[in-house]
């Protein structure tokens, strides 16, 4: 075996190990979300005489948020696909699209939070509102961290271009982003759709 192919083998192994490690981290993160879901489901009717989900949530607003996040999950997959094929320009375009969609999702969520807060339904209002803000807020925090990570990756791409390390980073980011969308499917279904019926 030549020295170069040995080095490539080493890098390949390192990538596989770190991807498995990241995957295991993702699973523990899912368990964190599961416990927050359990708390929300248990407390969802404890409104302390205040407003319930059916008075607070707007169906069309939620659908907009959901479609934006779903599309960004799709585009992050396309960025990975382009990165694996060493198309730098396509990678950057799809990563930027993902960032743009993710940012608009975050703005919509913050808008919803401030609207709830201003209408007197802050997280202090009731057990239902506390658990709602904790669950959706934790998801929003993950989205924020994901966006910072995305912009850091774009900076790395600008400086170093596409190599094994940047492809690995984009792979991890897309796994993270897909999982955030899967968590959001359940927030959309359990918190919002089951909340308004």
């Amino acid at each position: 075996m030549t020295k170069i192919s040995m080095l490539q083998n080493e890098i390949q192994k390192e990538t596989e190990t770190s991807l498995l490690g990241f995957w295991i981290y993702m699973m523990t993160d899912c368990i964190v979300f599961a416990s927050l879901f359990a708390v929300f489901i248990v407390l969802r009717n404890n409104t302390a005489g205040g407003k319930a989900g059916s008075d607070l949530f707007s169906l069309s607003f939620i659908l907009t948020e959901t479609i934006i996040l779903l599309t960004s999950s799709f585009t992050s997959g396309l960025a990975l696909l382009a990165a694996q094929r060493s198309h730098l320009k396509q990678t950057v375009i799809w990563l930027c699209t993902t960032g743009l969609l993710g940012t608009s999702f975050l703005i919509l969520e913050l808008h919803e939070f401030t609207k709830l807060d201003h209408s007197g339904n802050s997280w202090r209002g009731s057990a239902f509102l506390s658990s709602y803000f904790t669950l959706v807020g934790t998801h929003g925090l993950h989205i924020t961290i994901g966006l910072l990570w995305l912009f850091a990756t774009l900076g790395y791409l600008y400086k170093k271009g596409l190599n094994e390390v940047s492809v690995r980073r984009i792979t991890m980011f897309s796994i993270f982003w897909h999982f955030l969308d899967i968590v959001w499917i359940f927030i959309f279904s359990v918190v919002y759709l089951l909340g308004v019926i």
Binding site: L20, W23, I24, M27, T28, C30, I31, A34, S35, F37, A38, V39, I41, V42, L59, I62, L63, T66, I67, L70, T71, S73, F74, G77, L78, L81, A82, R85, S86, H87, Q90, I175, H178, D181, I182, I185, F186, F188, S189, V190, L193, L194, V196, I197
Partner: protein, 120 residues
């Protein structure tokens, strides 16, 4: 390098996953929208609950297969094993909490807060 990524199989898988997810999202949303805008009479509550949860679970599986390429990795498939273990923990955590707390609610229904206090 020569073949465009938009003609590859992987791209078609992403596209397929995206459209199926979109369809399931719109379907679940539409049922709820129709139910709410008709004044809660069109469907039974049980039907709506089951279809919302079913749509969410199917969409999760679709994204696992088409976005996260589960089942197409090399053996020994550690990813799948860890995922199944996590799903087990999640089911015990969520269903167990619902089960216990609903029982608690049911058994405490006829007790006033002051009675509950004096019991301790």
């Amino acid at each position: 390098m020569n073949t465009s990524m938009y003609q590859s199989k992987a791209f078609k898988a992403y596209l397929c996953g995206f459209f199926l997810s979109l369809l399931l999202t719109l379907f679940a949303w539409f049922i709820v929208w129709r139910h709410v805008s008709s004044g809660h009479v069109v469907y039974s509550h049980l039907f709506i609950r089951i279809s919302i949860v079913a749509c969410a679970v199917i969409q999760m599986l679709i994204q696992f297969v088409f976005f996260l390429h589960l089942g197409r990795e090399k053996k020994p498939r550690w990813n799948l094993h860890v995922l199944l273990a996590a799903i087990g923990v999640i089911i015990i955590l969520v269903l167990g909490s619902i089960w216990i707390m609903d029982n608690l609610n049911y058994n405490m229904m006829n007790i006033t807060p002051s009675q509950a206090d004096s019991a301790f």
